[in-house]
């Protein structure tokens, strides 16, 4: 078996306590693998260290114990094969939408013209072709998230890390964005599957693969698909989008308490799939596990107040 795209191997993360106080262990002994082309969601009660997990995968945070492996190689420093979509506003406010999408390309040494061309393509792809010259404060929250998405994906990362990227959006915008992410993700796998060369992965798919006949999707090569690690507190979102849902226990010292394979058919529409009987079944099964953790987490917060 080839190495997983991302492998968290028994990682723990303890934040040093201030002034000799005992340290705070956010996650304890978590083992989690994301295969290439797999969409994995992590759900858990608030404050269970989901973001910590993602920061370790990104290399922004070094695990206290355990190891992170990227395509089999131990991770040292930042994870260069990963793109990270943050929960909070992460666009540079002094750059236009286009400038923000171009940023990563120019950081990595692409010529100004190449960066502009590719960034324009991606802005088009997320439906913001007409807004390239806008500054972030001139865009709505949903538009800013689209720019973030384009900014992350234009670099063609092998692994996409997403930290509750849509939690600040209203429910309608959110479902639109979820569908769009799924479309693009499937489109990316399509493009990679069709274009045998590495250049093929760079150019956007000729059409939205999510809308094309199913046969084409099954023909896509699994090996070059993008791996997604998606953090959310919204179980519906997790099930609707993922191949696999991982449940973290209430913190501190969160660990993995459950794992469910989501065998819903793709392509999916996140709004429609919620009505499918299998979705309801999965939701119930996962919620049974998650509920205890949510209650435990809530109880801990109450205890702290007392």
């Amino acid at each position: 078996m080839s190495a997983a795209a991302l492998n968290l191997d028994g990682v723990s993360c303890t934040f040093a306590g201030r002034d000799g106080a005992a340290g705070f262990t956010a996650v304890r002994d978590v083992t989690l693998a994301v295969e290439a082309g797999e969409f994995v969601s992590v759900v858990g009660p608030t404050g269970c260290g989901k973001s910590t997990l993602l920061n370790m995968a990104a290399g922004l945070l070094a695990p206290s114990t355990g190891a992170v492996r990227v395509f089999g190689a131990p991770l040292v420093g930042l994870n260069g094969r990963a793109g990270y979509m943050f929960q909070a506003e992460s666009l540079m406010p002094w750059r236009t939408a286009l400038g923000n999408v171009m940023a990563g390309l120019s950081f990595r040494g692409a010529s100004q013209a190449d960066a502009r061309a590719l960034a324009t393509q991606w802005l088009q792809r997320v439906g913001l072709a007409a807004f390239g010259d806008r500054y972030p404060h001139q865009l709505s929250g949903g538009m800013r998230k689209r720019v973030s998405l384009a900014q992350t994906l234009v670099l063609d990362p092998d692994i996409i890390l997403m930290d509750e990227p849509f939690s600040a959006l209203d429910i309608q915008t959110r479902q639109l964005m979820e569908n769009e992410v799924l479309d693009i993700w499937q489109g990316l796998s399509m493009a990679a599957g069709r274009g045998a060369t590495s250049a093929g992965a760079h150019s956007p798919a000729p059409e939205q693969a999510g809308l094309s006949p199913l046969g084409a999707v099954s023909g896509a090569s699994q090996a070059v698909r993008k791996a997604v690690l998606f953090i959310t507190h919204d179980l519906d979102e997790a099930i609707a989008m993922s191949d696999r849902v991982v449940i973290l226990s209430a913190g501190p010292g969160s660990r993995v308490v459950g794992e469910f394979r989501i065998d819903l058919e793709r392509p999916r529409d996140v709004a429609e799939v919620r009505a499918a009987p299998r979705f309801v079944e999965l939701h119930k099964a996962i919620w049974d596990v998650l509920r205890q953790e949510v209650l435990a987490g809530y109880q801990q917060q109450l205890d702290k107040v007392d």
């Binding site: 922004l60 990270y84 540079m92 406010p93 236009t96 940023a103 900014q151 670099l155």
Partner: protein, 276 residues
């Protein structure tokens, strides 16, 4: 004319501003021209004019400066040049130092008491020393202005770098920015936004440095004109100099406002709305 036309409102603010100015000058005129009204505060008719100057004579002086003799331009140019130099040098030094100290906490920890001490010191007192070091020319005024501008810019940049959003920073790093690129594309823009927000203050202080420096010892500049006039108790010329400096400062401030607006278009303005 009906009262509703004259009543202060949003539309006639400018007219009221000008009217107020006219009233002030009129009062000044009436109270200072010898013999116009009987003296009530001073012991003789000429004293009010001696202490406060007379608006007509002051305007006459200004007219001579600008049109008849046309000899003030040289002095204004010198003062402006000193202001620009003090602002430029002070800003660059403050920007560099602010970036350096904000990004290397150890250096900041070591230099902290010195910076606090230098900022707490009344720096105008350095003017005589600068005069000894740099002579009575432009350089000593620039030096004084720089000490005033530097700290404003320095503290703003320091603050600006410290307050760069950690998320934006992490995002830039994930996008592949090297340390140098972070400095150029994240820290510097963030810091300059703080510099611009203090632009009004720092340009004003550069101007103060130039004028005070001239006033304390110089051979040219508007401050020098005031100093000369004061030496011969020519209150009209002193007042004329003050008026010219005030007008000049207002123009400078307006220019800064323009520059700020052009450079900071990426920043949201309160209540801004835009047609799509």
């Amino acid at each position: 004319m009906a009262w509703r036309h004259i009543k202060p409102s949003r539309r006639n603010v400018r007219a009221w501003q000008l009217g107020l100015l006219a009233v002030l000058f009129l009062a000044w005129h009436v109270l200072t021209v010898p013999g116009l009204v009987p003296h009530f505060l001073f012991s003789d008719d000429n004293q009010a004019a001696f202490f406060f100057g007379q608006p007509l004579k002051i305007f006459d002086r200004i007219g001579h400066w600008f049109f008849v003799d046309a000899d003030i331009y040289r002095h204004l140019a010198v003062t402006l040049w000193e202001t620009v130099l003090a602002f430029g040098i002070g800003t660059v030094l403050g920007l560099g130092m602010g970036l350096w100290l904000a990004l290397s906490p150890l250096a900041a920890a070591i230099l902290d008491p010195y910076i606090k001490a230098m900022n707490a010191m009344p720096r105008v007192i350095l003017a005589p020393i600068f005069a000894v070091w740099f002579g009575l020319g432009v350089a000593s005024k620039v030096a004084l202005g720089v000490t005033l501008v530097f700290f404003i810019v320095f503290f703003n940049v320091y603050q600006g770098v410290k307050e760069v959003s950690p998320v934006i920073l992490a995002n830039a790093r994930m996008l592949g920015a090297s340390r140098r690129q972070l400095l150029r594309h994240v820290y510097l823009p963030s810091a300059t936004s703080w510099v611009f927000s203090s632009l009004h203050t720092s340009v004003g202080l550069a101007f103060v440095g130039a004028v005070v420096g001239e006033y304390l010892g110089s051979a040219q500049g508007v401050g020098y004109l005031i100093l000369q006039a004061e030496g011969s108790f020519d209150i009209d010329t002193v007042m004329a100099g003050i008026l010219v400096l005030t007008a000049f400062a207002l123009v400078l401030d307006a220019l800064v406002g323009r520059a700020e607006k052009a450079l900071m278009k990426w920043q949201p303005q309160a209540g801004e709305s835009e047609r799509l």
